[in-house]
């Protein structure tokens, strides 16, 4: 929050078949459909989120991620961060208010890893789903599937990680929470946060730009992660790995795929961080353990299957 970026606000995911995708993200993951637009995009949110949407699905012939957006404190912050991005040398695109329904103007830029990000200050405040603002109950009835509580973070694969780190830390005020270093001193993974969460966004090096590794949704308990695994089996959903624990962040996790092959994670727990914490470092020779703390071996599919 050092420079006014509050949190991940939304992600737009490309899917091959909208009907299948909506079923996956609502019936299975437990997000709630909040709107559709004349482009055919479907808007979803998790129940604890206060704004109108956090996940947008767009049907096309190539799965992956269009962009991820971060909500900033206010309009003044948006103006100053936009100037910061321009001063850094990035091209900035203005997206008018209501291009996404219920969302104010957005400022879009593409970083050196080939991923598009957005900043925005305003989005329609609809409150937490299914609970009242005053004297709220613990959770709403009527949630589906895994009952995900929020869109938490995304992990992207791409090149030029040092430049990406520079933008996120020096321009946007994130700090580096965790990293993986190779023997030559290159940072091959960087987990960045604008909050106390161990990651609001993460990057792993690959030569191919602009790739999505996964979007991640937060659950409350390890039992919820186990139950998510049960649901993955009950629905014959494509599983990747888990339930298990990460070395990086120490989160408890399971990975699976949406019907278009975009990887999803639901997880709970994980470490916390403050801006005065030194980055947690893992070394590349322990990468297997860093990624899957119990297996302790490199998993080729997890490292190379991307959209």
């Amino acid at each position: 929050m050092k420079k006014g970026v509050m949190r991940p606000g939304h992600v737009q995911i490309r899917v091959l078949d909208m009907k299948e995708a909506v079923e996956h993200y609502t019936d299975l993951v437990g997000l709630i459909e909040t709107d559709r637009d004349d482009q055919g995009r479907v808007y979803l949110k998790a129940w604890t989120e206060v704004d109108k949407f956090s996940v947008v699905l767009r049907e096309t012939d190539q799965p992956g991620c269009d962009f991820m957006g971060f909500k900033v404190l206010d309009e003044d912050t948006l103006v100053s961060l936009t100037q910061g991005l321009k001063d850094f040398g990035l091209e900035v695109e203005e997206i008018p208010a209501e291009e996404l329904k219920g969302c104010g103007r957005r400022v879009r830029f593409t970083v050196a890893s080939g991923h598009a990000f957005e900043l925005y200050a305003d989005k329609e405040y609809t409150g937490k789903w299914g609970v009242t603002e005053v004297n709220p109950e613990a959770w709403p009835r009527g949630l589906s599937g895994m009952k995900a509580t929020r869109f938490d973070h995304a992990l992207f694969y791409g090149p030029n990680l040092p430049e990406v780190l520079d933008v996120f830390t020096n321009v946007l005020g994130f700090h580096l929470a965790e990293q993986v270093m190779d023997p030559d001193g290159n940072r091959i993974a960087q987990f960045l946060t604008a909050s106390m969460k161990e990651h609001d966004i993460a990057f792993i090096h690959s030569d191919e730009p602009g790739q999505l590794h996964h979007t991640s949704y937060y659950l409350e308990t390890w039992d919820d992660v186990l139950r998510a695994a049960d649901l993955i089996s009950m629905t014959d959903t494509s599983i990747d790995i888990g339930p298990t624990r990460h070395g990086l962040t120490h989160g408890k996790t399971i990975y699976f795929f949406d019907p278009s092959g975009n990887r999803c994670e639901v997880f709970c727990g994980g470490d916390y961080t403050y801006p005065d914490h030194k980055p947690v470092t893992w070394t590349a020779d322990e990468l297997g353990k860093a990624i899957f703390y119990h297996d302790r071996v490199l998993n080729e599919r997890f490292l190379t299957v991307l959209t």
Partner: protein, 115 residues
């Protein structure tokens, strides 16, 4: 539902696949590993194969991994094809020599009498 034989001529493996089952799923169910398994959703391109012979139906696949010109040459994702006849497939990319050599070696292996 009719069942068909799928023969991977790169590795020499063969397995049965129902007409309503993807080739990748049928392979996984019998525990074979002759095609790499990725997302199983037509998105990552990990399970790309070439169908050399046989008819099949095809679900939606990422254009990034199967552009029209590749599809025209029989390149598909195993997770998204459903056989309508016995299929002969091969792994891609594979140099021609390697295919011949592996198929020959595999054939020798499979025809060796069991003891």
């Amino acid at each position: 539902m009719p069942a068909y034989q799928v023969f991977n001529r790169t590795t020499g493996d063969s397995f049965t696949c129902n007409g309503d089952q993807s080739v990748l799923k049928a392979m996984e169910l019998v525990g074979k590993k002759c095609v790499p398994v990725g997302c199983r959703g037509g998105g990552c391109g990990f399970c790309k194969i070439r169908v050399v012979e046989g008819d099949f139906e095809c679900g939606k696949m990422s254009k990034a991994h199967v552009p029209p010109e590749a599809l025209a040459q029989g390149e598909v994702l195993a997770c998204r094809i459903y056989p309508q006849a016995d299929l002969t497939i091969e792994c891609v990319p594979q140099p021609v020599d390697a295919i011949v050599e592996q198929a020959t070696r595999a054939k020798q292996t499979t025809t060796r009498p069991m003891r």
